[in-house]
Symmetry: D2
Subunit: 361 residues, 4 copies
Amino acid sequence: MPDQKIQEYRDSIDSINLEILQLLSKRASVVSQIGKRQTEMGQKHYDPTRESEMLEKLEAANPGPFAGGTIKQLFKEIFKASLDLEEKQDKPKLKYSRKAKPENTTVVVSRGDVRVEFGGAEKVLISGPCSIESWEQMESTAAFVASRGVKLLRGGAYKPRTSPYGFQGLGEEGLQYGARAAAMHGQVFVAEVMDTRDVELAAHYADMLQVGTRNAQNFALLKEVGKAGKPVLLKRGMSSTMEEWLLTAEYILSSGNDQIVLCERGIRTFEKWTRNTLDLSAVAVAKLETHLPVIVDVTHAAGRRDILIPLAKAALAVGADGVHVEVHPNPATALSDNEQQLDFAGFDQFMLEVRPMLGWK
Amino acid sequence: MPDQKIQEYRDSIDSINLEILQLLSKRASVVSQIGKRQTEMGQKHYDPTRESEMLEKLEAANPGPFAGGTIKQLFKEIFKASLDLEEKQDKPKLKYSRKAKPENTTVVVSRGDVRVEFGGAEKVLISGPCSIESWEQMESTAAFVASRGVKLLRGGAYKPRTSPYGFQGLGEEGLQYGARAAAMHGQVFVAEVMDTRDVELAAHYADMLQVGTRNAQNFALLKEVGKAGKPVLLKRGMSSTMEEWLLTAEYILSSGNDQIVLCERGIRTFEKWTRNTLDLSAVAVAKLETHLPVIVDVTHAAGRRDILIPLAKAALAVGADGVHVEVHPNPATALSDNEQQLDFAGFDQFMLEVRPMLGWK
Amino acid sequence: MPDQKIQEYRDSIDSINLEILQLLSKRASVVSQIGKRQTEMGQKHYDPTRESEMLEKLEAANPGPFAGGTIKQLFKEIFKASLDLEEKQDKPKLKYSRKAKPENTTVVVSRGDVRVEFGGAEKVLISGPCSIESWEQMESTAAFVASRGVKLLRGGAYKPRTSPYGFQGLGEEGLQYGARAAAMHGQVFVAEVMDTRDVELAAHYADMLQVGTRNAQNFALLKEVGKAGKPVLLKRGMSSTMEEWLLTAEYILSSGNDQIVLCERGIRTFEKWTRNTLDLSAVAVAKLETHLPVIVDVTHAAGRRDILIPLAKAALAVGADGVHVEVHPNPATALSDNEQQLDFAGFDQFMLEVRPMLGWK
Amino acid sequence: MPDQKIQEYRDSIDSINLEILQLLSKRASVVSQIGKRQTEMGQKHYDPTRESEMLEKLEAANPGPFAGGTIKQLFKEIFKASLDLEEKQDKPKLKYSRKAKPENTTVVVSRGDVRVEFGGAEKVLISGPCSIESWEQMESTAAFVASRGVKLLRGGAYKPRTSPYGFQGLGEEGLQYGARAAAMHGQVFVAEVMDTRDVELAAHYADMLQVGTRNAQNFALLKEVGKAGKPVLLKRGMSSTMEEWLLTAEYILSSGNDQIVLCERGIRTFEKWTRNTLDLSAVAVAKLETHLPVIVDVTHAAGRRDILIPLAKAALAVGADGVHVEVHPNPATALSDNEQQLDFAGFDQFMLEVRPMLGWK
């Protein structure tokens, strides 16, 4: 309970607060008029030289008790708020944000009668081998996962390999195998693309284009994929902050394409018992901050088969719209990532435990 | 299909393999006899000088085609396998491992009639304020969470604060408040301890002792807590690998205390939108590798209130035996961590969504 | 060149700025009077409830065009500046800061005639084995490094080991060996301490106490070491931010002891080819921000012998006041860290290349 | 001193060792003959099915005392050594390695009479603005740094920006300004390229092509840049391990281009007081492991102006062949990275302190 003296001081502060408020509002209106005039004249709004001059005048006129640095800091905040106000008036909000679009975006991947929807009541399962190695391998995997209800087939035709001497993928031949296998088994097909020059070709064969973790900040590729007219599976960079990840989606959104599925796949940390550290908080935050569907690639997050089931359950519980898990007819002989792909028996066990959380009819 | 020539070579290799196998077995038996003799004579088994001599002899005798370095590498593996064999015969396995104890360990925290069990069918919820600030704050929080079914009350009496000028906790007074509030509301009480000299006092008031993230590798404290005769809540260090975390449990287990609950609470990464990065893979791995109960502290992992519910669901889905979440009557005025504690209304919302996964009757 | 219209608006803004400045100053004076009154009455200055009320009043009175959230944000900055002002008037600055003490602090470690000074013209070299294993090992190492000019001998008597089954050190016996070996060879002796209960004993034998990386946030130990009356070698936590590192020094400084040498020793990152990632930027920043001497432990940073020389040169070039490097008579048989300690020949090579940068007469 | 019994056992082991050695050598010869036959028949050498069969036979025949898993592990090492042997015989070593090429590679960037050499006695300084913003800005910077002896001018025409709404660079216009400014002031010009489709154009204007940190694993770009016939400045990915970094160089080397300068620029860690954590151990390791020149970008490592001088000194002391530092006529108004670029006065101070370490005549 404040005593009377303090109460008097507080009343005095309340009235000063209101005076400052009036002045801030008045100031903002004038700034807004300058902004309009600058726009008419084709000038940029932000003028650091003018800002420096104002700050110097204020510092010179400062009677205390605040230090000059504090006064400059406070006015910088005021300048920034004014600039933000103008920018908000001039410019659209970030398109990924729920503030710009409160309702969920649904992403549809389809070919002919086949239709897969992200962001609806049913969760999506994406499956298939890491790399497309041969027609037999791709077709048998497609047949198997299709028989278990998987409608979205994956398979890498262009493989980003740490070493130039690793298997680099079959290229167009791989895309053909993937598209054909998907078509035979009533599926749609998602394939990664790594080079702006390959986007058109990949979009010819694939129903959804993937941007991989190593290209998460390959901005030229993001723009090109954004213009290809296909839904995009956008993996988080292995060391991208959440903010950077959402801004990569913004690159695609700003190309006019809102058919984007965000995919968390683990981030790089000091931990060695998993290949990456799965960051499910990023899924929770992405569901809050954006209107886009979010899925989780448990295979690359874990880098080991024995925890894929609990991770998939956790991903669905945290609110993910789907799960990405790799399957290979014979993981021991796979040309890439053979420690972490499920074999067919392993996939059946996975489905037994995870299917109840998928909401499939 | 190999041709006949290759088949002949392969048969030849098969028989060489078997000869090597016989020699490796014979060698291991002799090494084992040396080991027994050394034990009799009180000598250490590992003798790097002897190893160096053997390697030099082998390198000198090497007829090729392997390089000398390769031969030395292969024999080092053979030496290591022999030494491991001896050590396995001499020494117990790591006590935390499921190989040492396949069945789950149940941890019981109790006082009088109150009994909380970790590792059983019902999941455990630990709640209470970050810091114990006053009797009123502690009692009202205990009353509230008890009314929602929480039987394990937390509250910090010794606070590890980054700055020496931060609120350091009420010390013994805080322990008294916590113990009294728990007793009034049919709960047991868990409190963190930071100094070996405080362990006895803390064990007098608290029913379970917590080792916090900053003391995860304070080995003197681990040993002392292990001997205090109370169950231990063992947080993962904010930059401990999973292996290091499990080895901190081994410190306590080797003191003769197996009443340990492991607690994942997020690790330090480059990400800035959450205070730490919750590592649920570590929970999945800990459940595989150890027989100890594992819980998740969602509050410190997130550092923000708005994703606590989805994280708690994910924690339970991945297989955690419980969740730790902080509650404060008025988080805005809390003396520590005020960004992340739930208020009472927030806790009710949390329970509404998370309770169905707790398996409470 | 702004046109006339814009110029008029700018003049108007300049005068509004000055009005706001006057009000801010007036407001700060009233707040300062409240603060004095609160101090008289024994009340805390920060009152979040009062703050909330003010913000609500302002939001209610806000005529636009700023959003309510922006107004609240701006006023929070103003409140914070006022509070900071009061706190600055009431409370001393952080003691580690150059703002509190612009000139360099010199740290002196001495016994009898032997005197080692950190922060002077000559750089300091700390050397010795990782663990003290026997009298012969300790004495021979002391003799050797003394013959090369090293006056500050190190050696671990209490060893923080990840596994409870690793060699834990010789304890008091080790301290005796270290102290005796140093005395025989005209050196002073630094030893790590890990338990608050061992501080007095360690301070009896050692001339400087080390707080290791795993205890960097063991605040009970920091306070106890601060009171022991000996200079302190304070290692950075392997995952401490620079800010946290300097605040651990503040714990010791606030105990009244300014004889602290900061030691950067590498931080934990994703990189695997070195044991830790040496962060020389932290040395540069610590030299800017603090008045304390800073040295670099190249041994633990690298975890491999073959880059110790270039790292030591870099450490001295960036401005470190000394280097810490481990030496063992026979690293291959060392009971800890045998991959990274130099043997005597390696140390001679090290000195040949590094000595010219030490400024030794 | 071993007793007689132990000595007898040891003699027995020595002779077993030699028998195993003979068998390993014999085995390797047979494997080598299989390999030749497989090469003749166009078959792959690695056959995981065959390996599995051999391991199963060995496990079945294992008489103990080794566990089956240990035997399989040891034979896997033997198989791997044999395969490595074959691969070494068939395939060249990694081209970046000093084992493949012990002597240092010199990289020359030249146009007309201007010639800059990396890896020679004189260290190289690369300077210029972050982004090319206008002809005036570029020309004035070129003139200034040229007057201080800088022969390699940098400037970004394509800017990788986290947000799609950030300044994206002037594109070809920027390249023209950079090339022209360099030509006017007796310099060569390095520019970043981000899109495979821009490589030809960039190579037309620039004398050296830079691959930036965000494209460190854009393998399509690495291959294209490798074929462009210009020296390459190859930045380390902000979260690339050293191994990954060197393998990105291998992509370019395997395209037939050995004119590569490696550039360490800081890695992403938890630390917040610097933009990245400069990893000078990586420079030391790269100088050991590769024959390529290595430089350090202190600007992006630090992200703050006040520690650029000590970091540059440390970089040169650790063995770097040069330093990259950004300079802008008026950093406060720069369109990107305005916190970290030096102004002209700052650059003069930088040169005053750093120049003596550059070895310039």
